[in-house]
Amino acid sequence: MVATTQDLDSLHVRPGSDAAVATAAARVAQRHGWNPEWLNFEVTKADALPTLGRAVKWDTIYDRDDIVIQVASKESLLAMKLRANRPGRDTRDIRLLLRLCDIGTLDETEDLYEEFYAGDSLDPRAVAMVTAILAEGALEKPTQPAPLNL
């Protein structure tokens, strides 16, 4: 397996218990030697999810039996990454997502951000990061991963 992420930020979206899901995930972790918190619900506590502006669009990547797995669209992921704007940690993701979303100016970036986080403006650190990324010039658009087939 190619390790590309440390953990999955998860939301509980259907009736049920987060604790039951976390316990099941910990069992999977033990079986594979993964970090026991590989699936966690921390993101719901962090004021990271847009709630007031444009609704997050979810793409279903798995729907079988009683389990549905959905991921946020690239635009919503970009908005969330812009909100986090942790240097070193989010920079590469912001660069890739800007290209995947075909965003080439700071104005467009701010518009997208404000669509999701209504009444909020881009943090100065995020502005610095985006400005530096855009100054790198137009690089090739990354290939969008094929739809997941789980």
Binding site: Q6, A46, P87, A128
Partner: protein
């Protein structure tokens, strides 16, 4: 991330005592070739590992945690830096941060106890010490002596240079233990969300 393995422990223990493979071999009554093989993960029998660790003045204990310690993470960072992958090197450093934060008291201290080998990059060596000093310090856990060694402090101020688009932080945004060692890293980088 590689799980802790015995070869990492032997190499980190040897380097922390500033021993060459020959010196460790003679202290352990093992030939140098065997030390080399063990450090490359070829001979990981408990008997050999135990003997080599004893030669470096270390011994194995078990701790109630499955999380990687600083010596293991430093080896991963060294590997990623050698492959010019600073992004993954940072992920490893952040994993150590998460590991330290997840444990408390003595167990957190244990994750920072064994002196890690050098990553071959003074900025990352200083960053590892800064992270351990920060996370142990916030729980009032005594610091292991290696985090205060001169080799863990930079002469001037430097950044980790993970991504060219990363802004340089003002000192107010740098955790004190990082600032003290001359590593300009954002506090925000270590926040989990």
């Amino acid at each position: 991330m590689e799980m802790t393995n015995a070869s990492t422990l032997v190499r980190a223990a040897r380097r922390s005592r500033r021993l060459t493979q020959e010196q460790l071999a003679s202290r352990s009554l093992i030939d140098q070739g065997s030390v080399s093989r063990s450090e490359r993960g070829r001979d990981a029998s408990f008997e050999t590992i135990d003997r080599l660790l004893a030669g470096a003045g270390h011994r194995l204990y078990s701790a109630p945690t499955r999380r990687d310690d600083v010596a293991t993470v430093a080896t991963e960072i060294r590997r990623q830096l050698a492959a010019c992958d600073k992004d993954r090197a940072l992920r490893a450093l952040l994993q150590l941060n998460d590991n330290l934060v997840a444990e408390h008291g003595l167990v957190r201290g244990i994750l920072g106890l064994a002196e890690p080998e050098s990553t071959r990059d003074p900025v990352w060596d200083a960053a590892l010490a800064a992270l351990v000093a920060w996370r142990l310090g916030e729980e009032g856990i005594p610091l292991p002596p290696w985090v205060e060694l001169p080799s863990r402090f930079l002469k001037g101020e430097r950044v980790l240079e993970v991504d060219p688009a990363d802004p340089v932080p003002p000192l107010a945004e740098v955790p004190a233990e990082f600032a003290k060692r001359g590593v300009l890293a954002w506090r925000a980088t270590f926040e989990s969300v």
